[in-house]
């Protein structure tokens, strides 16, 4: 069973390694990869960005520095918007689903082995979210938060597997032009997709929990009981606070996007830079201790993203009386 589950991962890595050999042997690289080659002539508009990136990378090499991970994920297909971080997304989903299938293949009421671990992971996260948002919200939204947490976590860890970012299409000088795989969370499109999806779901959940009137009142209405002149003074203040809250709400998905991207991209960049400090055959040595730190960072970032989303949701859905009553029930 274990051999069967590990085999597809090795197979994927083997497939990923094939283009490198092809490039090294002087075969023609795939069309999309050629677009990113610094020395190739741009064929159309789409290649221009990649060419700029290739030029920047070449310039960097010319300055004598180590190859830096580009901020933008290289495009791998001419016709479809597919980049190397998407390949990683699919692999990560494959790994999670494979693990889940193994864990849930022979489910029993008394869990053992992989099923036990999977149930422990899911139940721990569920209990954690329940303690944070309350049982009702946690049950309603677990499909999203569970996906977010495990998806980010597995992607972050898969980004640390040797070969990711270093296996791909190289130019004539042996410099990496278009890696086949890239940590999914090191691509702004992925982190933004998650953050803005959350933002939309966040509005949906908030409105369905409080109603449109309650949602607007939650943002703009004065908190507390004021009468007379005090009420007249407080209304504009809370309106202003509401405007600030709206700005804060609009900024939150942007902050989520860049926080995750910055941490993961920064980690990968650090590893790249550290590997460039020593000869290529010893490149793994300075990076090795930081890989352990990145394991921690990967977990913390998955937790932080999930935690922040959960807190934002809790804050917007928070309507004091009901919660106290709910706590009273429990």
């Amino acid at each position: 069973m274990i051999r069967r589950s590990i085999f597809p991962i090795f197979f994927a890595l083997l497939c990923a390694a094939t283009p490198v050999r092809a490039a090294e042997e002087g075969h023609e690289a795939p069309v999309a990869a050629v677009e990113h080659d610094a020395h190739a002539t741009p064929a159309h508009g789409e290649a221009a960005g990649a060419d700029e990136h290739g030029a920047a990378a070449a310039e960097h090499h010319a300055e004598g520095g180590h190859h830096a991970l580009p901020l933008d994920a290289p495009r791998l297909s001419d016709s479809l918007p597919i980049n190397n971080s998407m390949i990683m997304v699919w692999l990560a989903v494959g790994v999670i689903v494979l693990f889940a299938r193994i864990a849930t293949k022979k489910m029993s009421l008394v869990p053992q082995g992989v099923q036990n671990f999977a149930e422990w992971a899911v139940e721990s996260l569920y209990d954690f979210l329940s303690s944070l948002m309350g049982k009702h919200l946690a049950t309603r939204t677990f499909w999203f938060f569970g996906t977010i947490f495990f998806f980010i976590l597995v992607n972050n860890y898969m980004g640390l597997i040797p070969g990711v970012g270093t296996v791909g299409w190289k130019d004539a000088h042996g410099h990496m032009v278009a890696p086949l795989l890239r940590g999914a969370n090191a691509d702004i499109n992925m982190t933004a997709a998650m953050a803005f999806t959350f933002a939309i779901l966040w509005f949906y959940w908030a409105i369905t929990e409080n109603g449109i009137k309650g949602f607007i009142a939650h943002i703009f209405a004065p908190k507390g009981t004021f009468t007379g002149v005090m009420a007249a003074m407080m209304i504009p203040i809370f309106l202003f606070v509401g405007v600030l809250e709206v700005i804060s709400i609009m900024i939150r998905p942007v902050a989520l996007t860049f926080r995750l991207l910055g941490n993961i991209y920064g980690g990968e960049q650090t590893l790249e830079a550290l590997m460039g400090l020593v000869p290529e055959k010893l490149a793994f040595l300075p990076a090795l201790p930081f890989c352990f730190m990145e394991l921690l960072v990967g977990f913390v970032q998955a937790l932080v993203f999930t935690l922040l989303c959960a807190i934002f949701l809790k804050l917007i859905c928070d309507h004091g009386d009901h919660d106290h009553a709910e706590e009273g029930h429990h």
Partner: protein, 180 residues
Amino acid sequence: MMTIILAATEQAGPLETIQKTFGLSAPFFIAQVINFFLVIFVLKKFAFGPIQKMLEERRGRIAEGEAKLKQIEQQLADSERNTAAAIAKANEDAARLINEAKTSAAALSEQKAQEAIATAQQILAKAEAAALAERAAIKAELKQEFGRLVTATTAQVTGKVLTSDDQSRINQEALASVEA
């Protein structure tokens, strides 16, 4: 890196800078959103669905078990209470029966004693009556024998034949003298 960002900022606005610097683009963003929704669907169907179903089932079983345990505890308490009540009732009944038996035995004993006394008295009375009857019979027989002897003796002494009146008179005189 900073050079690239600064150069890009000088040439374009902030959003354009972000787009150029970080590679943010609408087609890739939409593709990743679609990807992410697919991820959510796939994980919900194949990962969280079965595991959460099993967790719910186990929670249900545990709750059911706890409810059954409470029910059993309740039944046990009821049973203990019923047993205690039954034992108390049995003790009470046994005590009552023993008392009744004791009372009954005493009454029966008394009755039997009285019956025995009565029977003994009857036997005694019968015996006395029989003894008296026997005594009277013996006495009559003795009188008769004594009379006959006296008569015979008198006849032999006097040498005459006694009439029945004589015999009767001699007998009565003899008996009167004996009884005196």
